[in-house]
Chain length 284, copies 2
Amino acid sequence: MPDEPLVIRDPAAMTAASRAARARGQRVGLVPTMGALHAGHLSLVDYARANSDLLVVSVFVNPMQFNNQGDLDNYPVTWEADFALCAQHRVDVIYAPTVDAMYPEGFQSKVLVEGLTQEMEGEFRPGHFDGVTTVVLKLFAAVRPDMAAFGQKDYQQLKVVERMSQDLDLGVKVIGRPTVREPDGLALSSRNVHLSPDERQRALCLRRALDQARELAAGGETEVAAIEAAAGEVIAQTEGARLDYLAVVHPDSLERLQRLQGPSRMCLAVWLGDTRLIDNDALN
Amino acid sequence: MPDEPLVIRDPAAMTAASRAARARGQRVGLVPTMGALHAGHLSLVDYARANSDLLVVSVFVNPMQFNNQGDLDNYPVTWEADFALCAQHRVDVIYAPTVDAMYPEGFQSKVLVEGLTQEMEGEFRPGHFDGVTTVVLKLFAAVRPDMAAFGQKDYQQLKVVERMSQDLDLGVKVIGRPTVREPDGLALSSRNVHLSPDERQRALCLRRALDQARELAAGGETEVAAIEAAAGEVIAQTEGARLDYLAVVHPDSLERLQRLQGPSRMCLAVWLGDTRLIDNDALN
């Protein structure tokens, strides 16, 4: 039976623990989460476990990154299960600050990344990325990790955090890890619990749209307009599914592509009832 | 003869040097400057020397905080003198990154503080504080100091940096140190070299305006409008002096006051020809 994780709720105490570990010559790894841990998170935890000595998982449902109050209110909270999973996966520290500790009275600072956040999630969730970059900066500042692992499921977020870490000299190696999926292809997401059985079935349209695009690309189609139209048609043909966006972009700059030449990535966001899902995949 | 300071130009190398010092149990102190060092900077250096083991002085003329290209182009650069002064004052490391290292192609991140930056310098120098907070965040991230010393001459900047450090969990103790003045009362500033002999004489109007306000306050005047009018009259009566702003504010929130009750601070900015000077003092 491994030791239970230490729970730290105060930023200064977190920094002190990280410094003490580094003074012992240990590498510090961080997996930032909003709790409601699933196998996608755990793959990040296992990766970070194998690549660091002091492994910190942060659990903080960040109000600043929710552009929709209902989404925040409904976000699943499963603290006891999260704690047990962290213990099983040999997490050393759960950093779980309170909202008051993170955003005390008078808080007025913001970290933002400008270009990469303009399209896709940035267009449909105004203010979302400012909340993400601000909280991730705070987590990096308190935890001072050598490495932090993020899922590729939130692909734009991954690229934004990479850019922030590089631009601001944070010295954190940002690692993107593959999306973990259900056997039928649905990307794991804490929001999947909100899907009705019908919606759960229809949610496969995201994966099917990506597969449709990949097949066309593999068959030699290079016109992005044709690929986006065919993938969009998969969503349009799914009852009760509503598309926010579907875009083929450069995997680093996230700029919209016209033709497939070098590497590319398709990203999409789809509503199923009141639940919004995102997914993405490389096309070549 | 003390050892010469080590000059570091790369953010990652700076972080490595700081980490090595901390691993030896040393406290790291930082004095951020734009070079052109004068006795005001040196008082910060001496304070930080006495309160840290590894003393870092950063020298970086930050283009992002200049809202006026002419001001940037004319900003004095005195590297050899700065180096000699740092050696005399037992600085361990001069952190002097290049503009390309700080803002490489594709840079797109920004750190900002919202409320405290709206008035005074923020109103008259649009974008200035975003440049300050972004570069100071980068300096703090690369140097990872325990303590950083700033002059009270740039009073609003000091308060903005304090707020940023606290809000973003940076763990840096931000210290404000008293303004150093010429014998006749002019606050030391790297921009003073641009004053003609006539302007240099007239520049005393800032100190005289502050003294006028302090005298009124000491005599029992509590109406801020009366104090601001009297101090403004000192500037108005000075040939060739042009006021940007003059404000009596709360020393922490920087909100404009109507009456002197608790603590207060008067801040002002005045043009003399093409040179813009700022100053401030406590009124009670």
